[in-house]
Symmetry: none
Subunit: 205 residues, 2 copies
DNA sequence: AAGCCTATTGGACCGGTGGACAGGGTGGGC
DNA sequence: GCCCACCCTGTCCACCGGTCCAATAGGCTT
């Protein structure tokens, strides 16, 4: 059975959510058992809280619910890695649709926002022809890249293995190869290398 | 039963697709019965053809399949309204995942592309607006902050200890406190949690 | 056919990491 | 004075992470 956890400041709307997902869990704080979908209904939207909540459950799609959807909030949520954004008063069947989409690797945004996001993304990526795209990623094989990206989202080797459907040993192999190609010594510096390009490690010196 | 139509120039890979969707229809030209998902496997990708094919079936999610996924092609497809982009040699189960996501209103892109698109969209739509600042760091005591910043630069516990002139044990103590305050489980997630803070850090002074 | 790259996995090793017990020392507020 | 927050240190231990030794298999180039 799919597990759903709702994070709500006031615990309201539980009835509606339980209607969509009868065995849903409603909490006021993140934590507890790892759900299949994490619904973020805290208002107002706090980037820091949302960010760490998302980081705390790598691999779990996070959907942000808002009582009055605002594009800016939605974009913040997306920027932080949320996989969905919709009205907190959405009908149960709508919520179920969203759940299905995100648990299958999709991004769910609602028609209007979706087209805006897609438009903006293509403007950004086609317009400037990827100037600051990590040269690092291009050095990696597709598999190494996939593993590196999982790790860069905060996943452990075990979690990355589960997400990519390979053994932990293989994750280590790809990671090791990525370390060597990028000239870093561990996963943390790999993340830094993928964020801002140069790693100014004067530490070891 | 969900109906799937594949548009392929050469009609190849039919076996693979039929394995995923036994009653799929493979065509060389768009048209015919209205499917639930339209899979576009024509190579090379032609924007005009794809555009009119998408326009011809409003409401039907279109997924572009490519034998060798390229970001630029993906962005063109997205810009034209495609709801998904993935490898044409994807496993049947993967295709099924994609199908489920897009038929439920989702956008399916694969981890790497997805994060790029999301990042690009938020950059474009949020502009240079600084996110609402200083969540994490202000929760920490000065010493915890110093340790966290060392770690965020890629230092090991031992290196941080040497730079701050304390024992490795103390570094662990501060780090552990920082983990708890920020609600993360390890140093990597701590870095991610601090990532969305303006890092002006000239702390070395 | 031979060679290379990629992807995958196994076993073993060992240092780094994080949590669970501990403390002791300082300074400020009530 | 007491309490409390902060800073610093210690030991023990389970687990994770990174690297070494391999091996098998498929695809691609020469």
């Amino acid at each position: 059975m799919t597990k759903h956890t709702f994070i709500s400041s006031k615990g309201q709307l539980q009835a509606r959510w339980k209607s969509a997902f009868p065995d849903a869990v409603v909490r006021t704080e993140p934590g507890g058992e790892r759900p299949d979908v994490l619904w973020w209904a805290r208002v107002p939207l706090n980037s820091a809280e949302l960010s760490s909540a998302i980081a705390a459950v790598p691999g779990v799609p996070v959907v942000v619910l808002s009582p009055e959807p605002v594009q800016e909030d939605a974009m913040h949520a997306i920027a932080l890695g949320a996989r969905g954004y919709c009205h907190s008063h959405a009908t149960p069947s709508m919520l179920q649709q969203v759940a299905v989409a995100v648990t299958h690797g999709g991004l769910w945004l609602g028609p209007e926002l979706m087209s805006r996001v897609m438009g903006a993304a293509s403007e950004r990526l086609l317009g400037e022809q990827a100037p600051d795209v990590d040269p690092g990623l291009d050095l990696l094989t597709p598999r190494e890249r996939a593993v590196a990206l999982e790790v860069a989202r905060g996943a452990t080797n075990k979690e990355a293995a589960r997400r990519l459907d390979i053994t932990e040993r293989t994750v280590k192999a790809h990671l090791g190869a990525a370390f060597e190609k990028l000239g870093v010594r561990d996963r943390l510096q790999l993340v830094l290398a993928l964020k801002y390009v140069p790693v100014d490690v004067d530490h070891a010196a």
